[in-house]
Symmetry: C2
Amino acid sequence: MAARGGRIRTSSNSIDPNEDPVAGLERVMSSSNLQDSARRRRRREDELLFSRQFDDSERTDSHEALSARYESLNYEVSENSLYREAEKKPYHQMTLWRISRNRWLVCFLIGVFTALVAAFIDIMVDYSKDIKFNWILKYLISKCGEEERGTTAGCMWTVMIAWIGYNCLLVAIAAMLVIYVAPIAGGSGIPQIKCYLNGIAIPEVVRLKTLISKAVGVACSVGGGLCAGKEGPMIHSGAVVGAGISQGKSYSLGIDFGVFREFRNDRERRDFVSAGAAAGVAAAFGAPIGGVLFSLEEGASFWNQNLTWRMFFSSMISTFTVNWILSWFNGRSGWLSWTGLANFGVFEDKEYNVWEIPLFLLIGVIGGVLGALFNYLNTRLTEYRKIYVSSKLGRLFECLLVAAVSGFLGFLTIFAVDDCQPIGVNPTATSNQINRMWCKKGEYSAVASLFFQNPEESVRSLFHSPINSFGATTLIIFSIEYFLLTLWTFGISVPSGLFIPALLSGAAWGRLFGIIVERLFPSITGIDPGKYALAGAAAQLGGIVRMTISLTAICMEATKDITFGLPIMLVLMVAKWVGDIFNEGLYDAHIDLAEVPILGWNPPKMSRNILADRVMRKDVVALERRERVSRIVEILRSTLHHGFPVVDRIEESPIESLPDYGRLKGYILRSQLFKLLENRIFVEDGSSSNLPADFYECQDDDEIGNVGGA
Amino acid sequence: MAARGGRIRTSSNSIDPNEDPVAGLERVMSSSNLQDSARRRRRREDELLFSRQFDDSERTDSHEALSARYESLNYEVSENSLYREAEKKPYHQMTLWRISRNRWLVCFLIGVFTALVAAFIDIMVDYSKDIKFNWILKYLISKCGEEERGTTAGCMWTVMIAWIGYNCLLVAIAAMLVIYVAPIAGGSGIPQIKCYLNGIAIPEVVRLKTLISKAVGVACSVGGGLCAGKEGPMIHSGAVVGAGISQGKSYSLGIDFGVFREFRNDRERRDFVSAGAAAGVAAAFGAPIGGVLFSLEEGASFWNQNLTWRMFFSSMISTFTVNWILSWFNGRSGWLSWTGLANFGVFEDKEYNVWEIPLFLLIGVIGGVLGALFNYLNTRLTEYRKIYVSSKLGRLFECLLVAAVSGFLGFLTIFAVDDCQPIGVNPTATSNQINRMWCKKGEYSAVASLFFQNPEESVRSLFHSPINSFGATTLIIFSIEYFLLTLWTFGISVPSGLFIPALLSGAAWGRLFGIIVERLFPSITGIDPGKYALAGAAAQLGGIVRMTISLTAICMEATKDITFGLPIMLVLMVAKWVGDIFNEGLYDAHIDLAEVPILGWNPPKMSRNILADRVMRKDVVALERRERVSRIVEILRSTLHHGFPVVDRIEESPIESLPDYGRLKGYILRSQLFKLLENRIFVEDGSSSNLPADFYECQDDDEIGNVGGA
């Protein structure tokens, strides 16, 4: 598919993609009769009006343009005469069977390798935490000595500097991987995957070096204490695994394994990328159904039963494998207990009452408003960042600054907030030494346990700990700090997901909401702030990303229970509705910021009544059924189009200003033209020796609509 | 869309749907040049070849034809000039918003009313069981006296005759509802819903009288002890609810509430029917995600994000409401504990090991083979039934016979098999009096508990009871008997589902498989036959219906756990693959038997290389842009087509045998023509007074492709 019309703004150094440089036709303006010229005038006025509106919008919103860097993927099956001949051969059924078997094989491998990547990331994060807590901090704290604690701040400064230094080191690795190796590996990768699944070829998005930068980078940025999750990057990693395995070769390594050649086209690759993305979600949350629904919801322009079933297979294999590896890593080899990377824990008390529904709806409203605020601020921040932090060193410096501030704020909060709870109040809290901080013996610092635990552990403890585990002040401060830090972190040049930080911030204010409800209506027993934390987490995340179906499924699967399905769903629905009043989802906003020409589900409001022929040029770069090689080469040199329509004839029309194209005969891809020229598949024409030849010709009327690389 | 080409065989009393009775054109055969006639000859030969193949297949397989009773639904949006004018009006955005709000409202109502129907069925079955056990049997058994039991068979004969008589009474009600009120209410209704969702207008499938017959009938047939489930009919009921509420009127009652007029077209109605079907699944199994996936998998020809989200909403509301009602019915009002109608219970021991995977795969193979056998036998049986049991009385008699034999076989087995287990071996078994039968005090009859419990309770006890609860003989006999009875029952004229009977039969042989594994490898501890029962149940059902994605989700949700997701999925995959070697799924087989012209996902093998223009007639019943009313009336009288292409011109072509149609301008529906005639929207033509008028005219070039009810 050639460039999309309408919003395209081409950069100055590329040629106009809609201009035919070698059509050999002047624009003829013979006003043969009044009616024709009147119609033309009307159309020209419309065009002028449209272009004026377009110019206006360009002036006011300079980022509202689309980059010409992106081309479409080619999903058309070239059903040409060669293909149909092959179909009639006796072994064709066997070939189909073999391809079908290979699809399943590839999906199996995608599941396994995605799980390996997930397990790698998880284990790396685990080790880095181990080093931080058990080696550096334990050593320093023990050196400070028992008697000094709580009195000498100087020793704590040493601890803090060591802590921040270690964080900065890891974040620097992550940032350098993104800045110097694979820029596309920055962020969560979900916007890029969404574009890819909807048919946009994003350069380098599914390369091996992107995968390596992403996997190592996200382990470093999460290990480095940033407000970042490993779940979004897992989805991107799964997608790269899907693309890589199905193609049987790697551009980054320059290796071609020579397998799965039948899948080397955009259509098959897109299918496997969607399976990989589903496997990524499945590995990240232990949510195979959620993974499938994610791929369907985000890559929503296709739906195919068999493909969905294979996606489901990949997801299941991925969840299964990651559990197997992690059970082996944790010393319980062979047991396939179900966890995934982000395990939200099981709610003991699974019941809620009808009168709690309005409260959940209110949480949805709050989540929608906060989510919209987050998106607005993050979009503005990203715009400023594009302008003012554009150099490589500047971006590296910003990453280090974020890491330092994140670490410093955590320590500052622990200094400032005095929320000591007796050990035993919260059975889910792990009592390592750092959590004690300034508290007396037999107590632990609730603030420290929130800030210094694994983010997933913090989510679990907000969901499941008893009502008095966290003070209201702790929750307010934690929620605001995490909100702001996440705002700052999402968009810097490190691989970083949004899911866990958004869930954490939401869980904190949701829990606070639950505590307030409990104080306001003391007569009602059975309020469990953990449920409100769950609702708040869902609301905050839903308000930011505006996903609905898949997020409900993911939350249900990550909590391993469907009891809270209805409240989660209502919360997500309300959060999306409220958020959509203000702005669009964060991923869509970032897609816009990257100037990607994606077509969403719904047409933009303004364009509802505009027909395609109003915004598309009619003098396209077309080919006739017989073309000279010279013209083909000229066209390939002077345009970047991915494909060209093949028409009956390109002739001057006596009455219209446009050439008379006759009827559309088919469509030929740039890659097919290259292949034909490479293999010199054209006919020498004896009569004129200096011009190469008849190049392309349809043999038969049957070819109508099916022209392709014959 | 007009009638589909190819496999259509029209019945003798209807006219040829492809013949244009009033085109006013003879077929011209002017062989203008050699090339043309050669091409024509070649085509005629192809046609002859094709028609010969077609005739052959007709001779060998007489049911391989399609009935002309079915027409397509009209999914096209008629985007005509009126519509576009309305779109430009200032209040148009408000209208869109109102329609969107109403869609959600309707989906909410669909959820609530589907749940009400589900609760009604459940409560009716409960009462009928109550009458049977607590009134009739308890009275009779107590009359027989304690001392006689086990010695006098005479008294048991009385009990048996009362039992069978009661069953026959209920089944007679169900059968009469189907035979005399709504024939379409027979069976599970899933094949019909599948057709409807794929665009076939099945007469009366979504009428209120169908719903009532279905709901009351299924309560009677399940209460009457048939091997029938209430889950399939629930899906059909949900679909009817969806259609009824969205249309705001009822044909059966002749009432028009005058609401939701904007949804009175096939496209909107199909969407709401899919939401209703999803809500039905959700209510039946407590599986909201499974419901959505069911609608997507079965009605797979569409996928739309917003629609999916509304389907999910309906499903959630439905699950929620049914739980609320049933919790109130069971005396725990207000608690939204999650059950649904078919509750498979929770597995206590949730773990399995990697080496068990091959065993699950083997179960999948067995399930596939048994499922294919079931489908083969049931298809043959249905064919014979169509021929030999065609009278209404004959069908009623068959239903009564099935009811009597089902009851009798149950008693016979209890007489023949002596499987007494001490009470306490199986804590899940309910110990009502009938279960004791001939056993000593302190024991109960395992056979009786299988045959006389609610089918859902039997499934639960096969899944969860300890290893020694059932003897191997009991399981073999029960499995075979249930298999055969289900085979006989599915297709008789009562509303009856297939899910629970298939699950029961599969659970029995799956449990047996588990016991055998345990005996073969006594060294391995931890074999839980309940897990194998689950796998067997899934395999048997999957082998019969060949559903995959949705069935996995339903099983996962009905067992309230995702731990067994992978084994269930593998089992279903293998069962489908193995079954597909032999024949197609039972629902598809029944669709074929009903001669419905459905187009599946994959083209039939033979037709892979056939182009549409080979099988479709080219001299269609077309309209010109200006037509006389007389011709329109004539066409409407003489054809049954749902719509007509509008073309440039219908003129004799000088060279071709077909008329020259010019270009296709659009498509006009039969219903739109009726509306236009009804409201006399046509122009009187003064020049010729005896002919009514110019009837239809496109005003503008813009109309191209968008002709409709202007």
